[in-house]
């Protein structure tokens, strides 16, 4: 049968990854339907502050190179990253910066008008480009503007305030569209497409309060998982050591506060309720400086995170709670002025001025390294991927792709600062072409030629699920269940993990799944019902949480952000492997499998920056 209309693609998500993909696919001449729960300009990518890495000309003259960027990313990721995609990302980075520059991103400038650079963690070179204190916002806006241009030309159609519910698969198991719900009218309908790109970001909300935005539930990924897509490395979650705990979320406090001399301490007396400036010097415990005299407050992220976590578990947190002081009050005025930007954020949300009052901080879940499992075609020499190969960043479901934070590639065991924005844009630009090629060259059965009944069936399935939630007449409350899930996941499955705690966590998550079956929604209307949308996400998060805990339990080693007190060493013989999780909808069971990570270019070496640290500190102590 002749194709009845032009092939189209669907992109779910308008963060950096989704917008970069929209621009690239539209440029290839293919129409794009772009779905997002919020106007794309308000996507979570807007939150990134720090910057974006690339070996540009200045860094290169200091001895830095794309190869070093590649190597640092593997080293940072504890060698769990696949090497060919990381290689390409590092070598494309300078070109991506140039492109963003041409799009008009107001990067900070040197007196001569060149793009300025700053230092960032995990590198000895200045290689991070930035735009004031709002790099993510500036990059997102530039891509939003280019997308709007394609929208004006008629190649991109936006569906904002639409929520992705389920992928539509044909009899061959290929992805042919989606079912989505209008968040205002609550209409549920199907959309046809010859390829679908998931660019739905991370899952921080599974841990309750994180540094993520409120729609970062991982719900979209969890729905693909339940529909047959695999997860890769779900247990890998990054926790940032210094965030400002709030009633509604944790806001990031930049590392530069410690870089400039900020000191971390707790009162020596547990449960001390005095204000920080009323506590005399000899009753303060500078526990990082005491335990790590060499590096003090500047120990690597994961060590700082664990020490702060442990102090609070021992009851030394401020007022017995989960917070420690990050003190900048002693710094000279000139230094304080340098930190004005981040002090402002703290003051805006707490009402306290860090110049005069020690800040209260605690670690918070920040980034999802794991995500939907994807494949790619490596070049013969493994130095990168074959450009335009149709399967680059495709999931195990033909025609279903994963780009950006929801993709498990690039960052391995932990992510280096300022590498996420890069990986998102790289996915969109580099692999966008793969999507277009797949649709043009590989797709035999066009979505438009499928019978209506296929789509109607999926729509019915989603309508029934929504109706079941609306009709539920139990006692429990989805918001309460969501909160309890966040608490137990944060307690047992973030900074430090061990078998017993994980077993309890799993039990608790499964309990919550049972309780979810007896909920009642406080809004049963069919107009902008935000409670329905949230409740649906809670169920998906509970399933995703289970996969995270199972992965964390099965990985009996410590690597990157995954730290087991009962298995302290990295174990390459058994675990230089990707965790693959599969879900069986018939039984509701998760099945785990480990797949070797090939290391064709750089053989794994010990990740010593943490260990030398401890050894040096230990020798002195």
């Amino acid at each position: 049968m002749a194709p009845s209309s032009k092939p189209r693609t669907i992109i779910i998500g308008g963060g950096l990854a989704g917008l970069a993909a929209a621009v690239r696919i539209a440029e290839a001449g293919m129409p794009v339907d772009l779905f997002s729960m919020v106007p794309v300009k308000r996507s979570h990518s807007v939150c990134a502050q720090g910057g974006i890495n690339a070996a540009n000309k200045v860094a290169r003259q200091q001895g830095y190179s794309e190869y070093m960027h590649f190597d640092e990313t593997l080293y940072g990721g504890d060698f769990l990253n696949h090497q060919p995609p990381v290689y390409d990302m590092a070598y494309w980075a300078p070109r991506i910066i140039d492109l963003l520059d041409r799009m008009g991103v107001p990067f900070n400038r040197t007196p001569e008008g060149e793009r300025d650079l700053r230092m960032f963690g995990g590198s000895l070179y200045k290689r991070t480009h930035f735009s004031g204190a709002t790099t993510g916002q500036q990059l997102l806006y530039a891509l939003d503007e280019q997308t709007r241009r394609w929208e004006a030309e008629g190649l991109v159609t936006k569906y904002e305030f639409w929520e992705f519910l389920w992928p539509v698969l044909d009899e061959q198991g290929e992805c042919k569209g989606i079912v989505a719900q209008d968040m205002r009218t609550m209409e549920i309908r199907a959309f046809r497409a010859d390829a679908v790109v998931m660019a739905t970001g991370g899952n921080g909300l599974i841990f309750g309060k994180s540094t993520n935005s409120v729609i970062c539930t991982g719900g979209a990924a969890a729905r693909c998982y339940q529909a047959g897509a695999w997860l890769g490395n779900p247990e890998f979650i990054q926790v940032h050591p210094t965030a400002i705990p709030g009633e509604d979320k944790c806001r990031l406090m930049s590392e530069s506060a410690r870089g400039e001399g900020g000191r971390v301490w707790v009162p020596r007396k547990t449960g001390d309720t005095r204000r920080p400036n009323e506590i005399p010097e000899n009753e303060r415990w500078y526990f990082l400086e005491e335990k790590y005299p060499a590096y003090g407050n500047l120990v690597p992220r994961d060590i700082a995170t664990r020490e702060i976590f442990w102090k609070c578990q021992e009851g030394y947190g401020i007022g017995g709670g989960r917070m420690v002081y990050l003190d900048c009050t002693h710094l000279p005025d000139a230094t304080k002025n340098k930190l004005a930007g981040i002090f402002e954020i703290y003051e805006k949300f707490t009402g306290d001025d860090p110049r005069h009052m020690a800040m209260k901080i605690f670690p918070a879940v920040h980034y999802t390294m794991g995500g939907l499992y994807t494949v790619y075609t490596a070049r013969d020499d493994y130095k990168g991927m074959v450009e335009g190969a149709p399967n680059n960043m495709m999931t195990n479901i033909p025609g279903l792709y994963a780009f950006g934070e929801v993709n498990y590639q690039y960052h391995g065991g932990t992510r280096l600062g300022a590498n996420a924005l890069l990986s998102c844009i790289f996915d969109g630009l580099f692999c966008g072409l793969s999507v277009a090629n797949h649709v043009n060259d590989n797709v035999k059965n066009r979505a438009d030629d499928l019978p209506e009944a296929v789509f109607d069936g999926y729509v019915k399935q989603e309508q029934d699920k929504a109706q079941a939630l609306i009709d539920a007449d139990g006692e429990d409350n989805p918001y309460t269940i969501g909160r309890e899930m966040g608490n137990v996941m944060t307690d047992r499955c973030t900074v430090v993990r061990e078998a017993e705690g994980l077993a309890k966590c799993l039990e608790e998550v499964r309990n919550l799944q049972q309780r979810f079956k007896k909920i009642r929604l406080s809004d049963t209307g069919m107009w902008t019902n935000q409670t329905l949308s949230y409740a649906r996400a809670v169920w998906d998060m509970l399933l995703y949480a289970e996969a995270i805990v199972l992965g964390a339990d099965a990985r009996k080693e410590s690597r990157g952000s995954h730290y087991r007190t009962d298995y302290l060493e990295r174990d390459d013989a058994n675990f230089l492997k990707t965790t693959i999780a599969r879900f069986d909808p018939a039984t509701g069971e998760h099945a785990l499998e480990f797949e070797d990570v090939p290391t064709p270019l750089v053989p794994p070496r010990a990740r010593t920056y943490g260990q030398t640290e401890q050894a040096a500190a230990g020798a002195k102590a």
């Binding site: 008008g113 729609i215 009402g351 107009w527 409670t531």
Partner: protein
């Protein structure tokens, strides 16, 4: 600052509306006081337990938000009469301002209400399309760096680029109405933003043409309410002045040269 202990509860008076054309009504909620709350964390508590002060079960209040750190622009509403972001509206500060009185939440009045505190700001995004709000690059191919720029120029453009399409400036503007066609301060700021970029300036005339249509920059009455409420300190006065001058020049060119 209200010391803990004095304040036991917080009262929220919320203007609600079920649909765009429905009659608005008020509901009052009482929450236990705690230190360091913001308005959104209170709305979250109400969502979890939507019971009014009188003890009547109701539906959760609907509002728009995402980042919770005053950078996405979603959560704008009118709080105690002042338009602002609800995520960065601290309860302790509001209580201090009112001496512990009620906190009143209303939707912005210059946009159609979707439900409760959620309004439809499509007009703002459509206006960005109208002014060709982009830099017309040739494509995503590797064509080297963008134009060089002085730190001063970067600072100007960065200041304009921080606009998060929140709508505060429009809510406060006497000229911008629910049912007129004034383009509004934020879009004027964006027109300047793109005109100030070397490649963006290629479309400067097209942008100025839009600014010269009815509803363009000439409809601004220079009341400067906009700049006072902008949470991102976007240099709106400067933008209005500059775009005003650029349109005057363009009008002259039309008059004398016919283009």
């Amino acid at each position: 600052m209200i010391a803990p202990g004095e304040q036991k509860t917080i009262t929220f008076r919320i203007r609600r509306q079920d649909k765009q054309d429905a009659q608005p009504y008020w509901e009052v909620f009482e929450l236990p006081y705690r230190l360091n709350l913001n308005v959104i964390s209170c709305l979250q508590q109400i969502a979890e337990n939507p019971v009014t002060k009188e003890g009547r079960q109701t539906t959760p209040v609907v509002w728009d938000c995402n980042c919770l750190e005053e950078i996405c622009g979603a959560c704008t509403m009118v709080i105690n009469g002042t338009v602002q972001q609800s995520c960065s509206a601290l309860v302790d500060k509001l209580l201090e301002e009112t001496g512990g009185g009620d906190i009143v939440l209303e939707p912005m009045s210059k946009f159609p209400v979707v439900r409760d505190l959620w309004v439809d700001r499509t007009r703002m995004f459509e206006n960005l399309k109208r002014i060709n709000g982009w830099v017309p690059i040739d494509g995503t191919h590797d064509l080297g760096e963008g134009p060089k720029e002085s730190p001063e120029q970067q600072e100007l453009r960065y200041g304009l680029s921080r606009c998060m399409t929140c709508g505060c400036c429009l809510e406060a503007c006497p000229q911008f109405l629910l049912d007129n066609d004034f383009i509004g301060a934020s879009t004027i700021g964006q027109a300047l933003y793109f005109n100030e970029h070397k490649t963006g300036a290629v479309l400067a005339d097209e942008r100025l043409d839009v600014m010269m249509e009815p509803g363009g920059v000439n409809d601004c009455g220079n009341a400067q309410n906009c700049v006072k409420v902008c949470p991102k300190e976007v240099p709106l006065t400067l933008a209005i002045a500059k775009i005003g001058r650029q349109t005057t020049k363009r009008a002259f060119r039309y008059f004398f040269a016919g283009r």
